[in-house]
């Protein structure tokens, strides 16, 4: 039985547990991204690949599809939570603020949005903005900068996390960490923890007609191993981005296969 603790002791213990978890998570993160981290600070010389523009998927799936099919490799406990969430989605009882009050979807959920997004590359090369129409989410990718410290990631967790990026040839590599736990990994209620960390590899394919984003998902809080999902978007220079206000009528999504109830 736990001894009685004062409020201060409880807080101290909680902070210690959070810090310990953060340190452990940070160690795992370092291991997970070591192949990339050495390149983060490398100077970005030469021509800058241009992936700017507007993109829109033509296929939507509520459930994120791991490369190679199947379910994400959840631990048994996390899978039980996932099944519970899926049932709640079907009953429209899931506490899903992203769909109800339009908070940001987070990563990787925003990657499966049936709405378009745009990539803006700043002329001074210091950053890239990814602006999603859905819930007017803005992701700022700081280029060639180190990931903020574990303390900062823990102190200021964001829906969309903190992102740093670099170029590897024609591919934009984005590492994101420091997520809050208010989001799901997809629209089927896939859970995650604040140990979530993602690495996206984004490049043009098919002669520039399409954009590919392969996201690797690392979350030892719920997964037995890292796994990846692949998203492909069509380049859409013909469209303009639109405002998005929660609960209002928005653009026609009939061209996006798989969207239900729109």
């Amino acid at each position: 039985m736990m001894p009685e603790m004062s409020g201060r002791e409880r807080i101290t213990r909680l902070v210690f547990r959070l810090r310990a978890r953060s340190v452990a998570a940070s160690a795992l993160m370092v291991l997970a991204v070591t192949p990339f981290s050495t390149a983060v600070l490398a100077a970005n010389t030469g021509a800058w690949p241009d992936i700017s523009g507007k993109y829109w998927t033509s296929i939507y799936s509520a459930k994120i599809q791991p490369v190679g099919a199947g379910d994400p490799p959840y631990t048994a406990a996390a899978m039980a939570t996932y099944k519970k969430n899926m049932a709640a989605v079907n009953a429209n009882t899931l506490d899903d603020k992203a769909r109800k009050v339009c908070t940001p979807d987070g990563v990787p959920r925003i990657l499966e949005s049936p709405y378009p997004f745009e990539i803006v590359q700043s002329p001074d090369r210091g950053e890239i903005h990814i602006i999603y129409e859905l819930n007017h989410v803005i992701r700022l990718v700081a280029m060639n900068k180190p990931m903020p410290s574990a303390d900062e990631l823990e102190t200021f967790p964001f829906y969309s996390g903190h992102s740093v990026g670099r170029w590897e040839g024609d591919t934009l590599v984005i590492e994101t960490a420091g997520f809050n736990e208010k989001t799901f990994l997809d629209n089927s209620g896939a859970p995650h923890t604040d140990q979530l960390r993602t690495i996206e590899r984004i490049r043009k394919i098919d002669g520039g007609k399409e954009l590919e984003d392969i996201v690797t998902i690392h979350d030892p809080g719920v997964f037995t191993k890292d796994w990846s999902a692949r998203f492909v978007y069509q380049a859409r220079p013909d469209i303009r981005m639109m405002d998005y206000a929660c609960g209002e009528k928005h653009r026609d999504l009939s061209s996006v296969k798989g969207v239900q109830g729109h």
Partner: protein
């Protein structure tokens, strides 16, 4: 400083004519001579874009008279510095924007030492107001005078319109500039405006919170933004000044103080709500770079009731009764 190698000039004589006061937009004459891409302009833009986007070693050309004002480089952020009420434009002989009944002649915040204003009373004797607009504002004034709390669109998580988004206080504003487009991002709830450069307005832009904005640069220090297609959902200032879908706003973002400030003057023309076009202004000051260290998420819906000082009975915060997809 970004550098353009060609001159881009707009001439606009008379863009809109209202047909009634119910908000039906009728575009009768568009004189956008010179706004379409001529051969020289296109060549200039291509040269400019090539220099910026593809060659890291490119050196800017000698500064010509038509340099493009740089609101965006080196991680620059901006913040509203003139208070959350529109100011009168120096030298303007017109009546100017709606101001405070109790603190005439200056922005409410400045009179109150910068304190956040909630109980402001609009001076509805301003002759710009049509009778129906004055009546609405008098009703709102009476509610506020009786202790009610006024509606402020961004405090309830609704999108800011134009020009009301200029009054978003506190959080950073960021400009992104490319040869064909300018984005103005407000950190407050991650709001986005897009300005399409050197193109005419669409034939049918529809109506939305931020409308359709087209723009061009002038004199090497100014971005001119012309906005139509603004829906009539929100007030255009914090005195609850209403508008109709006929609202047409022309903003001029003038870089000053050695690049450390922006004076934003605008003309608001809405024959549905106003008796005459009127002018107003705000000032932005440069924040501390780099913005990548300052772009914290600031999600209005995260706060439950938005930014927390409006009663639920006035206007509910945006929400979806069922998931959209």
């Amino acid at each position: 400083m970004l550098v353009a190698k060609s001159t881009v000039t707009f001439h606009r004589s008379k863009a809109f004519k209202a047909t009634n006061e119910e908000g039906i937009l009728s575009m009768t004459t568009r004189d956008l001579l010179g706004s379409l891409l001529s051969g020289s302009i296109l060549a200039g833009l291509l040269l400019w874009s090539g220099g910026i986007w593809t060659n890291s070693q490119a050196q800017p050309a000698a500064k010509p008279s038509n340099a493009i004002p740089d609101f965006s480089s080196n991680g620059r952020t901006w913040v509203l510095s003139s208070g959350t009420a529109f100011l009168k434009v120096p030298g303007d002989t017109g009546p100017g924007p709606i101001m405070d009944k109790n603190f005439p002649g200056s922005a409410f915040d400045q009179q109150r030492g910068g304190a956040r204003a909630q109980n402001r009373i609009a001076d509805t004797t301003n002759p710009i107001l049509k009778p129906w607009a004055k009546k609405l504002m008098d009703i709102a004034n009476a509610r506020v005078a009786a202790g009610g709390i006024p509606f402020v669109d961004d405090s309830r998580c609704w999108l800011g319109g134009v020009p009301s988004i200029l009054l978003f206080p506190g959080e950073a504003v960021v400009f992104l500039q490319t040869p064909k487009e300018v984005w103005i991002l407000s950190k407050r709830d991650a709001e986005v405006r897009r300005i399409y450069l050197d193109v005419p307005h669409s034939k049918d832009p529809g109506y939305s919170w931020t409308g359709e904005s087209v723009g061009h640069y002038e004199n090497g220090d100014t971005l001119v933004v012309d906005t139509i297609g603004l829906d009539d959902q929100g007030p255009l200032d914090r005195y609850r000044t209403p508008h109709t879908r006929q609202l047409h706003v022309i903003e001029r973002y003038h870089l000053n103080n050695g690049g450390k400030g922006i004076e934003i003057t605008f003309t608001a023309d809405d024959p549905g709500a106003f008796t005459m076009p009127w002018k107003g202004k705000v000032d932005f000051k440069a924040g501390t770079p780099p913005r990548s260290d300052h772009w914290e998420e600031d999600i209005c819906a995260d706060n439950g009731d938005g930014y927390g000082f409006d009663p639920d009975e006035l206007v509910p915060a945006p929400h979806a009764d069922k998931p959209e997809f």
